[in-house]
Symmetry: C2
Subunit: 204 residues, 2 copies
């Protein structure tokens, strides 16, 4: 009610169709293939139609990022579900979901963290970003030493998995386009085994 009345007259809401087309283009051809005109063509409208729904290409990207964050969170939640329920197991599962999202949807990840920190400068998507960020915050909480800033552990974990994901996407490890040396992720993420657990419980 408070927001838009669902669909207008011509095209039962075009905005969502454009975002969907944009994501499809992103999956097929990476961030280079994302184009306002191609999105419009896929949605069956003229090339200038998107201007009435987004503020240019940058606006479309923020809208895609907003949607992408949902998928991002879903990947991490799915990994959390599959994995062990210990604090350290949950932290590692979250990272695994992060990596899997990046490898399967590299284009969306590029849009989310693209250019000048779209992830932070979008006011619109900050809610969804907050959701993804809250997952990280929650998983990190058991490893925050009493009296210290929780941000530190969060940034440590975030930097590690973010860097690993991007370096994998850039093909820095592995000879070619290998899907991923499954062992490498486990061995690299094992660095988090050295994070001391704050709560007195000793299970890993």
């Amino acid at each position: 009610m408070t927001s838009k009345p669902d669909q207008k007259h011509h095209h039962g809401n075009l905005r969502a169709a454009l975002v969907e087309a944009g994501i499809a283009l992103l999956e097929e051809g990476g961030v280079e293939a994302l184009t306002l005109r191609k999105c419009a063509a896929r949605a069956g409208v003229s090339h200038a139609a998107p201007a009435h729904h987004f503020d240019g290409l940058a606006g479309l990207k923020t809208a895609i990022a907003e949607e992408g964050f949902r998928l991002f969170s879903a990947f991490m939640l799915a990994a959390l579900d599959r994995g062990p329920k210990t604090p350290r197991g949950r932290l590692k599962s979250l990272c695994r979901g992060y990596l899997e999202f990046g490898l399967e949807h590299g284009g969306i990840l590029a849009v989310i963290f693209g250019e000048r920190g779209l992830g932070s400068l979008i006011p619109g998507s900050s809610r969804e970003q907050a959701h993804a960020y809250l997952l990280l915050r929650e998983a990190c909480a058991p490893f925050v030493p009493a009296g210290t800033n929780a941000l530190i552990v969060e940034v440590q974990v975030w930097s590690l998995i973010h860097g690993f994901t991007l370096l994998c996407l850039a093909g820095e490890f592995g000879d070619g386009r290998a899907p991923l040396d499954e062992g490498l992720f486990d061995q690299v993420i094992a660095l988090l085994d050295r994070l001391p657990q704050a709560s007195p419980v000793a299970n890993t």
Copy 2:
């Protein structure tokens, strides 16, 4: 001698001028501002001239990456010079140089690690990349446990500092365009304090 005879006839070698112009554009306007035609204009030649020296825009980017790697290594070497000479101090200084390069030359970093892993798929720049990578390998060596793959520690450190640098560039931490919370780097990089030193010497 074995390579090109320095300068030809018209423009005392244009290739270097184009790379220089490209780097300048990169510094001024980021990776979006890097354009074949603008490079050509800056070098005072026609817009199709670069085609005789690079294989399109991608080729120019690989040439810039090749040059950028030199600057990259120089930043890490400078940080190594300034810092303490203990194994752990050297490792942290390397990371500091990595971050400083990224913050000061974000455009070049984006080109180096841009798109589909230019950093790895360029055969031409692999020598320079090897140089930068050797610095990392060297700094990590004291922390490689006997009998384990050195790659693991290297990727751990690389992922951490790479992710932290990119997240800083994306403005994910800090409210706005703050140059950098100096303390945050130290606190995050302190994660490396937990890497056990392989050699029996106990100095940090």
